[in-house]
């Protein structure tokens, strides 16, 4: 008797499909984001609608962070920080996603609809 039989491969592939389906159904049901919330250190938060393309500049502790809205997504395009983690966070489009430029004190969060995440830990 060999270690693997034909049916084993079928079962393993079917099981892999099943697990993949579980990932797909349980992890992709977040609603699309409806607005972005921008808050800067000291200032108060304001909301950007995501249905209108625009570029805004937010004044933070170190200087101006530039935030771009396009096609219902939003991202940092420039920030006067060292690590540029906020820019590398890329486009935010699903409700609950967050990008932040901590050195500059600017936080960008998208919301609306069904939230995909409750909280983030870094």
């Amino acid at each position: 008797m060999s270690l693997l039989r034909a049916g084993d491969l079928v079962v393993v592939s079917a099981a892999a499909l099943l697990v993949g389906a579980a990932w797909a159904t349980l992890w992709q049901n977040a609603g699309p984001a409806e607005y972005a919330e921008v808050s800067a250190a000291g200032g108060h938060a304001h909301r950007l609608p995501l249905d209108r393309d625009q570029v805004i500049e937010v004044h933070g502790r170190l200087g101006d962070s530039r935030i771009e809205v396009r096609d219902g997504e939003v991202r940092f395009t420039d920030s006067p920080c060292v690590g540029r983690l906020c820019i590398h966070a890329g486009w935010l489009s699903r409700s609950g996603q967050v990008a932040a430029c901590l050195p500059n004190g600017v936080v960008l969060e998208v919301g609306g609809g069904e939230r995909e995440f409750d909280a983030f830990a870094f």
């Binding site: 008797m1 270690l3 693997l4 039989r5 049916g7 084993d8 079962v11 393993v12 349980l26 992890w27």
Partner: protein, 188 residues
């Protein structure tokens, strides 16, 4: 290789000569499975609810060598005696453990009936692991933590079950090969 219809008639068709021999087989394998079960209970787990499930190896080996009836006895005894020894008898852990074991046995029985000819240890092991884990997640969600966040864990847990199912299936296949080779084959 016993035919798939073994499951229906149970242990009577195994190559054991008498009932006494069958009982001793069950007791021996159950003792092995319980030992593995307890060893695993002491291992720290990277994710709550994830265990390698190596006691599964014993169930699959017994299933393929002696039939479903014997395997069901071994698995049932393991859950019962294992929980008594670890101290979780009738606790939520026990309910999850028993529910998982029952589901795994049902799926093994079904797999045996439907595809016994084409399935080896790995196939049975993966079936059992996924049935076990899936049932546990659903039970935990229904009975203990009715929060949608628990279902978010399901893909992680099922992935772990798939991986560990394959691993213990391969181990079971190797064990079966050695058992078939007999004592001469394994001592050389």
């Amino acid at each position: 290789m016993p035919s798939p219809s073994d499951a229906a008639v149970g242990g009577a068709t195994t190559n054991a000569a008498a009932d006494g021999r069958d009982d001793r087989l069950i007791a021996g394998f159950a003792a092995l499975a319980i030992a593995i079960h307890i060893l695993e209970a002491t291992l720290p787990s990277p994710l709550p609810g994830v265990k390698p499930g190596l006691a599964n190896v014993i169930t699959v080996v017994v299933l393929l060598r002696y039939g479903w009836y014997t395997a069901a006895w071994v698995a049932g005894l393991r859950v019962l005696a294992g929980s008594l020894l670890v101290g979780t008898f009738l606790s939520p852990t026990f309910i999850l453990s028993a529910g998982g074991a029952v589901a795994a046995l049902l799926v093994l029985w079904l797999a045996r009936r439907l595809a016994g000819r084409w399935l080896g240890a790995v196939g049975y092991s993966v079936c059992a692991a996924l049935a076990h884990m899936g049932t546990q997640v659903l039970l935990a969600w229904q009975l203990f933590i009715p929060h949608p966040a628990l279902l978010k864990l399901a893909p992680f847990l099922l992935t772990a079950a798939l991986v560990f199912g394959i691993v213990s299936g391969v181990i079971a296949a190797i064990v079966l090969q050695k058992l078939e080779a007999g004592p001469e084959g394994s001592s050389s």
